[in-house]
């Protein structure tokens, strides 16, 4: 009976979107922190090239976080 009452398509999309957004944002933000911390350490060790690479990774991850947040809000407002 429950199998016919529940809209499994909506429910599975909710589960998928929650996992993707919840885990994705935390992972991307962790990369932001990792990149920033590595940039400071590598700069102190006078290794400019890896430091810039770490900073670039951090910047890219920050862009992913921002894009994820904006995308989520746009999806919410367009239904």
């Amino acid at each position: 009976m429950i199998a016919t009452i529940v809209d499994w398509s909506d429910l599975l999309q909710t589960i998928g979107a929650s996992i993707l957004a919840g885990v994705g944002i935390t992972v991307a933000f962790s990369v932001v922190i990792w990149g920033t911390a590595r940039f400071a350490d590598l700069n102190r060790e006078d290794r400019p090239a890896p430091a810039v690479a770490a900073l670039a990774a951090s910047g890219l991850a920050l862009a992913v976080v921002a894009a994820g947040v904006v995308f989520g809000i746009v999806v919410m407002t367009t239904k």
């Binding site: 429950i2 009452i5 529940v6 809209d7 909506d10 429910l11 999309q13 909710t14 589960i15 979107a17 929650s18 996992i19 957004a21 919840g22 885990v23 944002i25 935390t26 992972v27 933000f29 962790s30 990369v31 932001v32 922190i33 990792w34 920033t36 911390a37 590595r38 400071a40 350490d41 976080v65 947040v69 989520g72 809000i73 999806v75 919410m76 407002t77 239904k79």
Partner: protein
């Protein structure tokens, strides 16, 4: 004329419920930010209030579910909605008094279902909507938040594991301004819509709106204002339970718990599921704690919270049914709701006077 008076009482009661919802629930939204030191209590609550207000305007899917998919609008009267609201408010205040983060949303739905069954029998309930859009998501949502927070914090710790703890902690604390903001926005969009849905249901029952109508702008704006004001008024007793008694969190755990909560609530809101933010954020908090160390979660406190969750729907339903019975003693007009309102206000005044005499609410330690 009589039905107009009842409608005015219902709208006033619904907005009062919305206020208590903000007062009661949003404590859970800001608790993690406060307990990790990411934001001062005043800043966190002020930000949550503004984002609750904004969030109320971004979707009406949940309002549509509450207005059309839980009870049969054709047999609903404004008095039934009123009795359901009083049942929900009563249960909210009872659990607030004891510091239990139960669900305002399920209290509201339980109250309306209980009063509808008391008035018109079980055929007043749309079983398909109640099970498929309320009960199943109610069970899945906290489990999903638990899983998402646990996986997220596990991966996050691996990424930042070898970095200096001070930098990592500071970074996640900054991040909590974002994740806490998203959670407040999510709370506003899901919870304020339940009040919008109930007021819309009353307007349909009154004949002011057609069947399956969307909430008018004044309903959206007044619901947004009520939940924002309730949020700003705070709920310190429940902040303490969620923020410090379930687990002692670090900033990374707070970030992942809030991120998981926001993701689950926003995704569910998109599909019109009237979730409990309380269930979801507590699921996220437990997941973030258990992923680091299972024994870090104070399972006894968590058990008390689960008990409150399980009791919420039936308890609010019983109170809603009883309130409907009391209103019917005075006939089908406005007298019953008026008398119940006066009795409730008298009781509330006595309770708060006692609280004031006893001293200020509990602050976060």
């Amino acid at each position: 004329m009589s039905s107009d008076v009842v409608l005015v009482i219902v709208v006033g009661t619904a907005l009062a419920f919305d206020f208590t919802n903000g007062f009661h629930d949003t404590a859970n939204v800001v608790a993690t930010s406060i307990s990790t030191g990411a934001a001062a209590p005043g800043v966190a609550i002020g930000m949550a209030s503004i984002l609750n207000f904004v969030g109320a305007f971004i979707s009406i899917s949940v309002a549509a579910t509450v207005a059309n998919d839980v009870v049969n609008a054709e047999v609903i009267t404004p008095t039934i909605v009123f009795a359901g609201l009083v049942g929900a408010i009563s249960w909210n205040l009872f659990t607030w008094w004891f510091g239990l983060p139960s669900s305002s949303s399920h209290a509201l739905i339980g109250g309306v279902v209980g009063s509808a069954v008391a008035a018109a029998g079980f055929h007043a309930v749309i079983a398909e909507g109640l099970i498929g859009k309320v009960l199943i998501p109610a069970i899945l949502a906290p489990l999903l938040a638990f899983l998402v927070a646990a996986v997220a914090i596990g991966v996050g710790y691996r990424i930042v594991g070898h970095q200096r703890p001070g930098v990592v902690s500071r970074g996640y604390r900054y991040g909590q301004l974002l994740s806490g903001g998203m959670l407040a926005l999510a709370h506003g969009t899901n919870d304020a819509q339940k009040t919008m849905g109930v007021i819309t249901l009353a307007l349909i029952a009154h004949g002011s709106l057609g069947a399956e109508a969307d909430p008018p702008l004044w309903v959206i704006a007044s619901s947004a204002t009520a939940i924002a004001l309730g949020t700003y008024s705070g709920g310190w007793r429940i902040i303490k339970t969620t923020g410090t008694k379930i687990i002692k969190m670090d900033a990374a755990q707070g970030f992942s718990a809030q991120g998981a909560g926001a993701a689950v609530i926003l995704a569910s809101t998109h599909f019109g599921y009237p979730l409990s933010t309380t269930h979801v954020i507590n699921g996220g908090v437990m997941g973030a704690g258990a992923a680091k160390r299972v024994s870090a979660v104070r399972w006894g406190v968590a058990g008390n919270i689960v008990t409150a969750w399980i009791l919420t729907l039936p308890a609010a339903a019983v109170i809603g049914a009883a309130v409907y019975g009391i209103t019917r003693i005075f006939g089908t007009g406005a007298l019953g709701p008026l008398i119940v309102t006066l009795m409730s206000l008298s009781l509330l005044t006595a309770v708060f006077a006692r609280r004031v005499r006893r001293g200020a609410p509990v602050a976060v330690s």
